[in-house]
């Protein structure tokens, strides 16, 4: 940790290095595509792949509502993991109170899942 630098300097350097690393790879690939291997788009190449058949009709079909239920229930896990990550990182320095608060938070989310499950939202009908 550089003693005189800004305490968060290492974080900025770390983020910069990560971004540069990713962008350089993508840039190299873009460069390669432009200079050496030409792009060859075509009507059938860009057509949607439908088990090797020409796709008929359009895909803008009204989906069943059951799919949205799955999306909403997924949120339970999504929110949960967003808060679990920092909790896990700082786990060793936490006091008991913080731990209990986290467990209550987890309990609430799991209780939501159990309620949805019993209501039959997961069963496809």
């Amino acid at each position: 940790m550089p003693a005189d630098g800004h305490p968060y300097l290492f974080l900025a350097l770390f983020a910069g290095a990560a971004v540069v690393f990713c962008l350089s790879l993508l840039g190299l690939a873009r460069l390669w595509a432009m200079l050496v291997s030409p792009a060859k788009p075509g009507p059938t190449k860009n057509a949607p792949y439908e088990c090797s058949l020409a796709s008929q009709g359009d895909a803008w079909v009204q989906f069943r509502s059951a799919y949205y239920l799955y999306a909403i229930i997924f949120l339970v896990f999504d929110v949960e993991t967003v808060f679990l990550l920092p909790f896990a990182v700082a786990f060793t320095h936490l006091s008991v109170g913080a731990f209990v608060a986290m467990m209550v938070f987890l309990l609430l989310l799991v209780e939501g899942l159990v309620w949805a499950w019993r209501k039959g939202a997961l069963a496809w009908h």
């Binding site: 439908e50 088990c51 090797s52 058949l53 079909v61 069943r64 059951a66 496809w124």
Partner: protein, 415 residues
């Protein structure tokens, strides 16, 4: 939209691609199980689009259609409303080539019919020609035919269970076990006939060449290892909760519908109908060996899986009895001419219990060297007749598992 009058108007035939016939508003209730199965055409109602039905083609190039087989599925979300198969992507004109060639030159083509079980295809064709021309088969040849047919049945059922588990998502593990066993049996076939999959080994009235030296000991060694393989397979699969949850109660086939739809083989016996050609027709020397025919009670996919496992065990028992003493003597009826073989004019229908079901050859001869009509009764093609009835109202994943359990091989389905 086709008028659903009884008289099919030839000019307005709907396209074979996506059938635009729309289903009943509520999925048609499964037909009442009368003695025979009266099929009434489905009444036409509102077109699909505004009721949120998705027409999708599970097309010729699809990982879980066991070859180039296509299904036009009309889906209500995940539920199947209509499930129309489209065939013909591997229609290789087997019967036209059979009619243009002599009787002998059709024999290597029978290997390519159901390319998992070339030796039982050969035997079915040889059986039909022997019935047509009235030939006798020496005892040693019949023993060799039974041994090779039962080995074929074991490697076919093992490979099928491997592919069925691949449908259920067990990518590769059971298939690896099954193919490891299959390779041992293919080595036996290569040592005996010269080719792994395309044996072309049987001739009318017997076999082409005798057992090479040391083949019987090698065969006994492989057959002794089979029960250990079956136990290993059963430990791995039979009591697996995921397999049971995904296959029990799925794709139930009532026995009357199975009989009326001409379903044969393990699928029929899984519905509880006791009809095994080895016991019914008593062809070959099967009545000399005692073995049992496994029957299922519920007729669902788990029973089909279990019937095939038990059939493999019964085949291993037959092999142990047959390999105990193979009689000596000639392996082919010397009177039969190899070239310009001309059976008398007439017709004959020979059939046997292939691993997929009843494989039949219907031959009409007009006295010349070429058969006048050469017809194959393909078991997996006819077992697909009631695929839509079994999948009615189930989700797409279960329908593909049911398709996997029907055991179709496209070479035989499309011929």
């Amino acid at each position: 939209m086709r008028p659903d009058s009884a008289e099919p108007d030839l000019s307005a035939l709907s396209t074979g691609d996506l059938v635009v016939e729309s289903p009943a508003a509520v999925p048609a209730p499964p037909p009442p199980a009368t003695s025979g199965f009266e099929l009434t055409p489905k009444p036409a109602t509102a077109p699909d689009a505004d009721r949120g039905l998705l027409e999708v083609a599970i097309g010729p190039h699809h990982p879980s259609t066991h070859g180039v087989f296509r299904l036009n599925a009309v889906l209500d979300g995940e539920r199947i409303v209509r499930f129309k198969p489209v065939f013909g992507y591997l229609h290789r004109n087997h019967e036209k080539i059979g009619e243009n060639g002599t009787y002998l030159s059709a024999m290597p083509y029978t290997d390519r019919l159901d390319y998992f079980c070339s030796l039982s295809n050969n035997w079915a064709y040889a059986l039909a020609v022997e019935k047509l021309a009235g030939l006798a088969v020496p005892e040693r040849a019949d023993y060799i035919r039974i041994i090779t047919a039962e080995l074929t049945r074991i490697q076919n059922h093992a490979a099928l269970i491997g592919f069925l588990l691949q449908e259920l998502g067990a990518m590769g593990t059971p298939l690896m076990y099954a193919f490891r066993e299959r390779e041992k049996i293919l080595d036996l076939f290569e040592a005996l006939t010269g080719a792994r999959m395309m044996c072309n080994y049987l001739r009318f009235g017997g076999c082409r060449c005798d057992l090479p030296a040391g083949w019987l000991e090698e065969c006994r060694r492989v057959v002794e290892g089979l029960p250990r393989f079956f136990d290993e397979f059963e430990n791995l699969l039979s009591t697996n909760e995921i397999l049971m949850a995904r296959t029990q109660g799925i794709g139930v086939l009532p026995p009357e519908l199975a009989v009326s739809a001409g379903v044969t083989g393990p699928m029929l016996r899984a519905s509880g109908v006791n009809y095994d050609l080895r016991k019914v027709d008593r062809y070959g020397l099967y009545d000399r060996f005692e073995f049992r025919v496994p029957l299922g009670e519920h007729g669902d996919v788990y029973d089909r899986y279990m019937v095939r496992i038990l059939e493999m065990r019964e085949s291993a028992k037959i092999l142990q009895q047959a390999l105990r003493e193979v009689p000596g003597g000639p392996i082919v009826d010397p009177k039969v001419k190899l070239r310009n073989f001309r059976p008398k004019a007439g017709e004959a229908y020979g059939r046997l219990e292939s691993p997929k079901g009843e494989l039949g050859f219907y031959l009409i001869s007009d006295g010349s060297t070429n058969p006048y009509r050469y017809r194959i009764r393909p078991p997996s093609f006819i077992n697909l007749t009631i695929l839509e009835d079994m999948c009615q109202g189930l989700t797409l994943q279960d329908a593909l598992v049911i398709l996997g359990a029907v055991d179709i091989v496209m070479g035989e389905v499309d011929r």
